[in-house]
């Protein structure tokens, strides 16, 4: 039985019957695509084209087509990688952690959040792959396979290898989690399907789901366990990503604060992106009843909290540098804040630390258009965070003789924009062919109508 507290507002408004839920959520799948959908989809396809083109150029000529140089050998590529991985954190986090905490408000957003996770990780994966000088061999040499002579394996001391394991694990587990959640809803769509094609495909993916209580029973157990292991997984992934930097000797990278700081940042950016998407989605697909202001507000609170956490981390870094007494460390941070890339640093500060503070005001938390604007600001800010960490640390390191400046080329910019193309293409397809809201779960939290 469901026992909703009296104080807590309804999670789904507008007295839906179970059937209403099914109808409304299946509507976009069963109806013709709306114009807004078509326009958006075509636009994303265009950007996807840009991705193909720019990656093609990179493959044809070499990494030299990017703006990197002898000193700054990671630039936009790894910046974007961390950016996307960060975004990829909200999904699993929402479904896993909130499930563990029995936060029922997650239910109408976790599906799309998980989808976002998967697509974001796909985008992220592009960068570590293509930043390799020789992707054609690197693609599989990073797997634990012996080389031609059996003598050379992989190096388990290398954070990059940890990345390989972390990202692949995270991606595949998220995928399983997401797909398991989809099965009952696919079955629902299957049973409503009119055309043969739909019948076949939805049947194919529904795996003969009937809604047997026995299965439901196991299903609950499985999702609980998956949630249980996904939670540390989410945290581990960005921890390991942060170790790419933390375990190096580069001043500005070599700090123990990175793991928690990166995780907080990831949640921050993840929720930022979720907000961006949901504010649009609820409008376009008019899901206002399912994704209520309440949902948005809850997420705004998380954004504000995590934003403040990363802000704290930024300040702590400075303290640590000053306290360490290491001149290189100290210079690295002075250079961050007042060096040639100061503009990046301050835009990061503004977007990530200062901007989210407006969420102290209820109006800010409950006004969709404003939330949307701010979620964009958050995304921008988090991108700058990664840029600042990577580029400003590298461009002025130990030996002044090697100090340089770095600026991206059109190819790099194209790849970055292109990944948005990929992301939204996937997302539009998802919203067209799969229920973006977890019907089964939502049905569970409808108020009794007796």
């Amino acid at each position: 039985m469901i026992h909703d507290s009296v104080i807590r507002p309804q999670l789904v408004t507008g007295d839906k019957t179970l059937h209403d839920v099914t109808n409304e959520i299946c509507r976009p799948i069963e109806n013709k695509p709306s114009t807004s959908w078509t326009v958006g989809f075509i636009l994303s396809l265009v950007f996807l084209g840009i991705l193909g083109l720019t990656l093609g150029i990179t493959l044809a000529y070499g990494i030299g087509t990017w703006g990197l140089n002898k000193t700054v050998q990671w630039g936009w590529d790894i910046t974007n990688f961390v950016f996307w991985v960060g975004i990829g954190h909200a999904g699993t986090l929402i479904s896993a952690i909130l499930l563990l905490f029995r936060q029922k408000w997650r239910m109408s957003i976790n599906r799309s959040a998980e989808a976002m996770t998967i697509f974001a990780v796909m985008c992220a994966a592009i960068f570590p792959l293509f930043h390799m000088g020789r992707i054609w061999v690197g693609g599989y040499w990073v797997l634990p396979l012996p080389n031609a002579f059996g003598s050379l394996w992989v190096n388990f001391h290398s954070p990059l290898l940890w990345d390989v394991f972390a990202i692949t694990t995270y991606f595949s587990v998220s995928l399983v989690f997401w797909y398991l959640g989809l099965i009952p809803d696919i079955a629902t769509v299957r049973d409503r399907a009119k055309t043969e094609g739909r019948k076949f495909w939805y049947n194919f993916f529904s795996m003969g789901w009937t809604g047997s209580v026995r299965t439901w029973n196991r299903y609950e157990v499985v999702s609980l366990i998956l949630a249980g292991i996904s939670t540390p997984l989410v945290l581990s992934v960005h921890t390991i990503v942060s170790m790419d930097f933390a375990t190096s000797v580069v001043p500005g990278w070599h700090t123990t604060i990175f793991p928690p700081y990166f995780v907080a940042g990831a949640i921050f950016s993840g929720f930022g992106m979720v907000l961006t998407l949901l504010v649009i989605a609820r409008k376009v697909m008019n899901y206002q009843d399912y994704i209520t202001i309440g949902h948005l507000e809850a997420m705004c609170k998380v954004v504000m909290l995590t934003g403040t956490m990363v802000g704290l981390a930024y300040i702590t870094e400075f303290f640590v540098a000053a306290y360490s007494g290491v001149e290189y460390e100290q210079y690295a941070f002075v250079n961050r804040a007042f060096g040639p890339y100061a503009w990046a640093y301050w835009s990061m500060m503004t977007c990530n630390l200062i901007a989210p503070q407006v969420f102290w005001f209820k109006w800010a938390r409950t006004t969709p258009w404003f939330i949307f604007m701010l979620s964009i600001v958050v995304n921008v800010g988090m991108w700058f965070e990664r840029f600042v960490i990577i580029v400003t640390s590298l461009h002025r390191e130990y030996l002044p003789s090697g100090w340089v400046m770095y600026s991206p080329t059109l190819v790099e910019i194209g790849i970055f924009l292109g990944t948005f193309g990929l992301f939204f293409t996937c997302f539009f397809l998802f919203s067209k062919f799969l229920p973006v809201i977890n019907m089964a779960e939502v049905k569970g939290i409808l108020k009794n109508r007796e």
Binding site: G62, S158, V164, P400
Partner: protein, 1066 residues
């Protein structure tokens, strides 16, 4: 006796007699000649025999190669007749002489499968002393230059057409005879020639064509010194400067470590006298100059000097010394006024070292040089530090000869002209006259190997061999003879210039020519007749027997006992030249232009060499361009910034749109422009025939009978537009970091750890440090020690490294993107000396502690500039007075390498001998290692640099590729690369030692940079061997590690730099 048999054996070999064929069966019955080439000891009979066989067998190699094709050998072609001493996979070494400049360094050429791939200094030669300059290193590519002509050319009605030797020989001889019969004059215009045989060839030519004049012309001439010595002592020679005998040298803009006369020789001697271990004095170096030269960066004391006032400086020095010596002084306007106390103090310092001092001037003005002679006379340096008896032949060109020639050519006096190893149309300010005159000439021939500016104006081009294809001898110094031997058959249908002259003059070759007789040589292999000619000359010299000659050939050097140096008498009253001297003094208010030679490109004769172009200037770190080097004060006043474009004009001569580089150390009121640029060359960003830089030769000013590189009264006008110079280093201060350590000589004498006594950081590690052991016993642990005190920053190591390790050239655009591939670089840091508030010349001498006033941080510098500006002080003295340190930087081969840990695929790991190895074919190019390298020495292959038209350098054509070192992989696109400490040489050395069942000797294996270094600043060896040189240096109190606190435990240690600035007058 033995040798006679051998001679005939060679004959048989040529004749393919049965005996020879039989002998083929057991040609492996003796060890490889390679083993002996470097073991200088006991040159017994056997060694001679082998050496004879070496050059003999080479000729057979030549046959077989020539038999394949006259164009470069592309495919692996099996030897038709296997030359006795060539074993595939083993290198052969031949001693020879560098033919780039007339300094004539002795070299050792490394050949693989009959193909020269590396040139290094020959330790036997007193000129090179085992080192070699950037230009010499890079000269090997001149052999594989696609621009070389592949045969004689005939220019008819403006268009050059390929011809053959028979035709042009015929036509040229007819013309010569015609001119001769008509009583016309013939001129042979050549660079300095000090080869006795070549000179005698010219004489033979003169005897045939009686109206022939031989004009010697050097683009960078030393006529001033020649004329001064003629006037002063009646000896028109450049003396020998014995830096090793001096305790103090005062130089007026003579860049003797970089480009002056014989830089390799001088660097060797200078650095030897700078060794501080156990020394109670080191060679104090004081320099007065306008441009910041390499010598200026290494001098203990450097005074900015407005070069147009040099006469004032030298006369005031003379007068200061004359006072001390009680001699009459020179009466010259404002003498002493300008130079101030620095001169007085310098004079004191010199006087204290009478007879052990040296004063030199880079000026080409005979009068100034005469005063310099006077100074050295006062100091009694002749016969000790300056030797006129064992004089130098390295430069003999008189500018007056050239100007006379140009006039006569224009007037049509010379109807025939032959250019040999000279390119006046490019490098002479009289280019216009010569071009005009050439049109009138009935016959004009150039021996140039490429279609250079002069050659393309001539009627015939009779391309000379590259020096690596030639026989020759040379006499760089009186009594010092060096031999040049071919190390490969002529790659093209070229013919040695001497041979051409001989055939035109119909010189009969004495003695038998075994090669020619057998008709093995087609016309394009021309060495033999001149070889025989040379032998006859050497026989006359007393080196008749094959044995003696081969010994000389093996050593590359043949010395006669030096003459006892005498003290000459000064045959000129200095006050008689005052008026001429006065002429040289320019208007102080005007801007001076000082033309200088870049250390790499030098006079420009090899400016199409990609290695040289990509070698950064040691001071400005600019590649691929020349530029206007501007003092800060001027830039501030006229609001000119780096990369702005200016027009430079001096009278009628103009140079438009020159990029500007604001050079710290550039004396106020002067600007500098490098010569040697602006040539037609294939090498360049935009492909064929894009000019690199601009030609500054036309600025050269004729004065007092010489061409002077100091031009007073140039004007600069800023124009619109901007030009980004390709620099390899753009941050110039060391930011006060403990990367380069230095001290002063006095401090060092008191405490050998001076400057190096910083508390060593606590080096914590989580696990015990790796020791390099092989089954208990200590294994090799390769390490390197670099003495910052010896290193002059000349960059020879950079080029040498690039050649040895097939480091690609990436071109201007990529260097701009900061992607040069050099494995070895030389970091250069400026220290700005803040004495805006004091009379700098005063405190330079009286100040005991420099640290107090040094500005090493960019921020500090900006602050200083602000103070200056606020004071309205436009002098910016702190920019004018900079201290400079050079720090060679390459992979430090860390024992606990940050790069190794982060590679996901184990592409970079540690060897059991302490080397940080790079496995190219495993690398996937994540570039993490480079990010994690604190020394930033890892280089990434951003593109494919070979067979790629976007990088159209020597890696992009089959000919250029012949220079590739077969022992080193050519890296593919997308992999990381870095210094390997020449692991190929280490392995070769170990294999050799193993084959000979002995331990590897210390110093047996040398890295490319070590071999190149004329200063001997780099020592490589096994630090686990307690007796090794490098071990001793590691124990030395001066040695330290860069960034030691990171506990990377580098295998490279640096030695503290020591400056002798404490008591300037000592």
């Amino acid at each position: 006796m033995a040798k006679k048999q051998l001679y005939w054996k060679g004959e048989d070999e040529l004749l393919r007699t049965k005996e020879f064929l039989a002998s083929q069966k057991n040609e492996f019955n003796e060890a490889l000649p390679l083993d002996e080439v470097f073991s200088e000891n006991n040159l017994g009979l056997s060694a001679n025999r082998r050496d004879f066989l070496k050059f003999f067998g080479f000729s057979v190699a030549a046959v077989s190669l020539a038999a394949c094709n006259s164009t470069p050998v592309r495919n692996v072609v099996p030897y038709l007749v296997k030359p006795e001493e060539i074993t595939p996979g083993n290198a052969n070494y031949y001693n020879s002489t560098c033919g780039v400049c007339s300094a004539a360094c002795g070299i050792t050429v490394k050949t693989r499968e009959g193909r020269p791939i590396k040139v290094d200094g020959n330790a036997n030669s007193p000129i090179s002393g085992g080192g070699l300059c950037t230009t010499g290193q890079a000269s090997i590519l001149g052999l594989y230059d696609t621009e070389r002509l592949d045969g004689p050319m005939k220019v008819s009605s403006g268009s050059a057409a390929k011809s053959d030797w028979k035709t042009i020989d015929g036509e040229i001889v007819n013309q010569l005879n015609a001119i001769q019969n008509a009583g016309g004059h013939i001129a042979i215009v050549s660079g300095t020639i000090h080869s006795p045989s070549s000179l005698s060839v010219i004489n033979d030519f003169k005897t045939k064509f009686t109206n022939t004049t031989h004009i010697t012309y050097d683009p960078i001439s030393y006529s001033g010194i020649l004329m001064a010595n003629r006037d002063s002592f009646g000896k028109q020679v450049v003396p020998s400067y014995n830096f090793d005998k001096a305790n103090i040298v005062v130089s007026f803009a003579a860049d003797f470590l970089g480009t002056w006369i014989s830089p390799v020789e001088f660097t060797k001697a200078w650095s030897a006298r700078r060794k501080v271990e156990g020394a109670d004095s080191i060679l104090k170096t004081i320099i007065f100059e306008s441009n910041l030269s390499l010598t200026g960066t290494n001098a203990d004391l450097r005074f900015p000097m407005k070069s147009s006032q040099e006469a004032v400086y030298v006369t005031s020095l003379y007068n200061a010394l004359a006072n001390l010596a009680g001699q009459p002084s020179i009466q010259i306007a404002e003498s002493g006024a300008l130079a101030g106390d620095s001169i007085k103090q310098a004079a004191k310092a010199l006087w204290n070292q009478k007879g052990k001092s040296m004063v030199i001037s880079g000026s080409n003005d005979p009068k100034i040089q005469t005063v310099i002679n006077g100074i050295n006379m006062l100091l009694g340096n002749y016969g000790t530090t300056i030797d006129l008896d064992n004089y130098s032949n390295q430069y003999k060109g008189l500018d007056s000869e050239l100007s006379a020639f140009a006039a006569d050519l224009k007037s049509g006096k010379y109807q025939g002209v032959i250019f040999w190893n000279s390119n006046p149309v490019y490098s002479s300010p009289l280019s216009a006259d010569i071009q005009e005159g050439l049109k009138k000439a009935k016959l004009s021939v150039s021996f140039s190997g490429t279609k250079d500016e002069t050659a393309s104006m001539c009627q015939y081009i009779a391309p000379d061999n590259h020096y690596l294809e030639s026989w020759n001898d040379s006499e760089p110094k009186a009594g010092l003879y060096q031999l040049t031997q071919p190390t490969i058959t002529p790659v093209f249908m070229t013919r040695q210039a001497q041979e051409s002259l001989m055939s035109w003059a119909g010189v009969a070759v004495a003695g038998i020519d075994p090669f020619a007789k057998k008709g093995i040589y087609n016309q394009n292999f021309a060495a033999a007749p001149y070889y025989m000619y040379m032998r006859s000359k050497w026989a006359a010299m007393g080196v008749a027997s094959d044995e003696a000659f081969n010994t000389a050939l093996h050593d590359g050097v043949y010395k006669k006992a030096p003459v006892a140096a005498t003290i000459p008498a000064m045959g000129i009253i200095l006050n008689s030249i005052v008026s001429d001297l006065q002429k040289t003094i320019g208007n102080k208010a005007n801007l001076d232009l000082i033309l200088y030679q870049n250390v790499a490109v030098k006079d420009g004769s090899m400016s199409n060499n990609p290695w040289l172009q990509e070698t950064p200037d040691p001071i400005s770190k600019v590649t691929w361009d020349n530029y206007v080097s501007l003092p800060k004060a001027y830039a501030e006043k006229n609001n000119i910034k780096n990369g702005d474009l200016v027009n430079v004009s001096a009278g009628s001569v103009k140079l438009n749109a020159m990029p500007v580089f604001v050079q710290p150390g550039q004396a106020n009121g002067t600007i500098g422009i490098a010569v040697g640029y602006g040539r037609d060359g294939k090498v360049g960003e935009k492909g064929p025939f894009e000019k690199i830089g601009k030609n500054a030769y036309p600025f050269m000013k004729f004065q007092n009978g010489t061409y002077n590189n100091v031009i007073n009264g140039v004007t600069i006008s800023k124009i619109d537009g901007n030009y980004e110079l390709a620099q390899t280093q753009t941050h110039h201060t060391i930011e006060g970091r403990d990367i380069v350590r230095e001290t002063t000589f006095e401090k060092y004498k008191k405490n050998n750890k001076a400057g190096n006594d910083k508390a060593t950081p606590h080096l914590y590690t989580l696990w015990e440090t790796k020791e390099y052991k092989k089954d208990g016993a200590p294994n090799h642990h390769w390490a390197m020690a670099i003495d910052l005190n010896s290193c002059t920053g000349c960059s020879a190591c950079v080029v040498s490294c690039s050649i040895e390790n097939n480091v690609p050239v990436v071109g201007r655009a990529e260097v701009r993107r900061r992607r040069e591939m050099h494995w070895m670089r030389i970091d250069r840091y400026f220290t700005f000396e803040n004495r805006s508030n004091t009379n700098y010349s005063e405190d330079l001498f009286l100040k005991r502690d420099f640290e107090g006033v040094n500005v090493t941080k960019e921020t500090g510098l900006e602050a200083l500039d602000a103070i200056e500006a606020a004071k309205g002080n436009s002098e910016f003295l702190h920019w004018e007075n900079v201290k400079v340190v050079h720090q060679p930087m390459m992979c430090q081969h860390c024992g606990q390498a940050p790069c190794e840990t982060v590679c996901p695929v184990l592409a970079t790991t540690h060897s059991t001998e302490g080397l940080n190895q790079m496995t190219y074919n495993r690398c996937i190019g994540t570039k993490y290692c480079a990010n994690n390298c604190p020394y930033k020495v890892r280089r990434f292959n951003w593109f494919r640099y070979n067979d790629n038209d976007r990088f159209d350098f020597h890696f992009n054509n089959d000919l250029g590729k012949m220079v590739i070192n077969p022992d080193v992989t050519v890296r593919t696109r997308g992999v990381m690369e870095k210094c390997s400490m020449c692991v190929q040489n280490i392995q070769a050395g170990k294999t050799k030692a193993k084959r000979e069942k002995r331990k590897l000797n210390d110093g047996e294996v040398k890295t490319a940079c070590q071999r190149a270094c004329p200063a001997g600043a780099i020592v490589f060896g096994d630090v686990n061997d307690p007796n090794s040189e490098v071990h001793k240096l590691f124990m030395n109190e001066r040695s330290y590690r860069v960034l030691e606190e990171l506990n990377t435990q580098t295998a490279v240690k640096y030695m503290v730099k020591v400056r002798d600035i404490d008591n300037p007058t000592a």
